[in-house]
């Protein structure tokens, strides 16, 4: 591949956006994998899509309406049963405010 589609700097920026902490090895291998994929998807530019509308919905047109009614019962314990850390009915996280 003559042209580089993505730099190591860009990989680090995207990893920050995606909240993934990458090792140096991972950064390098992801750079090379993404480079290959981005070069591959370049083939889409062979197609003139100036006048083509993007797909925005797949199923049937329109959205169904329904009444806004409560159908479930309060279930705090069930919801919190999977919490990695909890305090009473709260999810516990590291301190946010200094």
């Amino acid at each position: 591949m003559a042209e580089t589609k993505i730099t190591l700097e860009q990989v680090r920026h995207v990893a920050l956006l995606a909240r993934l902490r990458l090792s140096n090895d991972e950064e390098e291998s992801l750079r090379s994998d993404m480079d290959e994929m981005l070069a591959y998807v370049d083939k889409l530019n062979e197609l003139d899509t100036k006048d083509v509308a993007p797909t925005t919905q797949v199923g049937e047109a329109g959205m169904p309406m329904r009444e806004d009614e409560v159908t479930n019962q309060p279930a705090a314990d069930a919801m919190l049963a999977n919490a990695p850390s909890r305090d009473r009915n709260y999810f516990k996280v590291p301190k946010i405010i200094e």
Binding site: M37, K43, V52, T55, N82, K95
Partner: protein, 482 residues
């Protein structure tokens, strides 16, 4: 007790259960024994639900004794580990959900429970359904029952292998780019991806929401029709789910293919395909002609762009869907001083390599400055691919193609080359982009005795056409599964 109950089809087992020739408990125990014997070499299940299955079977027997017997009452099924199952852990084959126990059932699980189906276990898959070989599972790969040096396909490889090895009578999978049809083809079973929106996705762990669809694996087309009948239909908890009435799919199996116009896309018979695959599919087309169908060459000119469009659209949606795994509310949590580090380290430790690769590509495709060139371009090309099919269906009722360019490949063969792995979905991916129904049915074997699958594709909501045609092919006896 009759032996080898696990080898029955759902239709056969259901008849025996209703006549009380066998009990649901006998049938379930037989499958559980089969699982115990096969799992050491296949690894088709992440979790086997022996205790729960026995209890469900007892309840099914009580209903059967009372004469209340829906079609799936007492039938042992495998459930892909992507479906929320109340009280049974749901891992999505990821370390990040290794200990997640959902407090609720997916809609389709609820519906199967209401019919009295028995869940023998949660099947293995590629992590978050990202893969074509089930090698991306955090719990090790599933091996192909026809040759344990080869993959079962993916992402629903566990479900396909479990049905092929008679560990259960049918199974649920999901299909985003071929994840039901490709493993069905590799394992020699029937796999149906319904029209997008035909089946509720509520409670199904999301990968790419505009492409994901729920569907069955079965030993026969009739069994696939029986399962789909229970799965399909409106769900107030999934706003994309269609309100269209659900036909009785089993009644669509008229036993013939008279007058069906079958389209054969020239772009799907390309160089690089294993010659035996092409030969088997061409032979199946001849069988169709012998039972009154006609074939016509059609063109789907944008086929060659489908994989590129898919990997932009699917990864973009995945990057958004997988943002929820933040280590805060459920799932794995790494220890860290602050919340950003907690998110980053949790995700770094919890996700496997392929999931990270797709999140990265998707995040990039949506990021400022690249959105138009990548994500938007992908969605425009998707429109062209959908238009191709619309035009093709003016000339035919059904399209027949191979499912994959090759039969099952060897473990490790494509693991170091993501793009080559992606290309194994070349014939299935455009069907998801267009939101159409597609089914894989066995149509032959290659010289290594590996199954070959044929894909039947129909217009939106024409599952009946696919099922009728698939069943008619089975009845010709042109091909017998081994």
């Amino acid at each position: 007790m009759p032996s080898e109950l696990h080898k029955l089809t759902i239709a056969e087992a259901s008849a025996k259960l209703r006549k009380r020739e066998v009990s649901a408990l006998e049938l379930t125990r037989d499958c559980l024994e089969r699982i115990a014997a096969s799992e050491p070499k296949l690894n088709a299940f992440i979790t086997v639900c022996e205790k729960e299955a026995v209890e469900q079977a007892r309840q099914a027997d009580a209903r059967l004794a009372a004469g209340d017997a829906p079609a799936l009452c007492g039938i042992p099924l495998g459930i892909k580990d992507i479906y929320a199952t109340k009280g049974v852990r749901t891992t999505c084959a990821s370390r990040i959900l290794e200990n997640f126990v959902p407090p609720f059932d997916a809609t389709v699980i609820e519906r199967l429970r209401a019919e009295g189906a028995v869940f023998v276990g949660k099947t293995n898959m590629d992590e978050f359904a990202m893969g074509s070989s089930t090698e991306n599972s955090a719990f090790g790969p599933t091996l192909n029952p026809h040759d344990t040096e080869r993959v079962a396909g993916g992402s629903s490889g566990g479900s396909a292998a479990a049905v092929a090895a008679h560990e259960c009578l049918g199974a649920l999978g999901t299909d985003t780019g071929g994840s039901i049809r490709e493993p069905a083809s590799f394992c020699g079973v029937v796999g149906l991806k319904p029209t997008y929106s035909r089946v509720s996705r509520y409670g199904v762990v999301a990968y790419a929401s505009s492409l994901d669809q729920v569907g069955p694996f079965a030993k026969s087309v009739r069994d696939a029709a029986i399962i789909l009948r229970t799965l399909a239909g409106k769900d107030p908890r999934d706003s994309t789910c269609s309100a269209r009435a659900v036909p009785d799919y089993e009644r669509a199996l008229a036993g013939d293919a008279k007058g069906l116009r079958i389209g054969v896309p020239k772009e799907f018979f390309v160089e690089g395909m294993q010659p035996e695959v092409e030969k088997a599919v061409r032979a199946a087309l001849k069988s169709y002609e012998s039972i009154g169908a006609s074939t016509v060459e059609i063109s789907l000119p944008h086929t060659g762009y489908a994989i590129a469009a898919y990997y932009l659209v699917a990864t973009a949606e995945a990057s958004a869907n997988l943002a929820r795994y933040d280590g805060i509310r459920f799932g794995l949590r790494a220890s860290a001083e602050d919340n950003i580090a907690l998110n980053e380290i949790t995700r770094a430790e919890g996700f496997g390599a392929e999931v990270k690769r797709r999140i990265m590509l998707g995040t990039f495709a949506l990021s400022a400055g690249y959105y138009d060139a990548y994500y938007l371009k992908g969605q425009k090309v998707r429109t062209l691919i959908r238009n191709d099919f619309e035009r093709a269906f003016e000339k035919c009722d059904l399209i027949v193609t191979p499912v994959a360019p090759t039969t099952a490949f060897k473990l490790g063969e494509k693991m170091n080359d993501p793009l080559t792995m992606y290309l194994s979905d070349i014939f299935t991916i455009s069907v998801n982009l267009a939101g159409l129904p597609g089914m894989s049915i066995p149509c032959g074997y290659d010289s290594n005795h590996l199954p070959i699958g044929m894909q039947l594709i129909a217009p939106p909501f024409a599952e009946e056409t696919i099922l009728r045609a698939g069943d008619a092919f089975e009845r010709t006896g042109a091909f017998k599964s081994r």
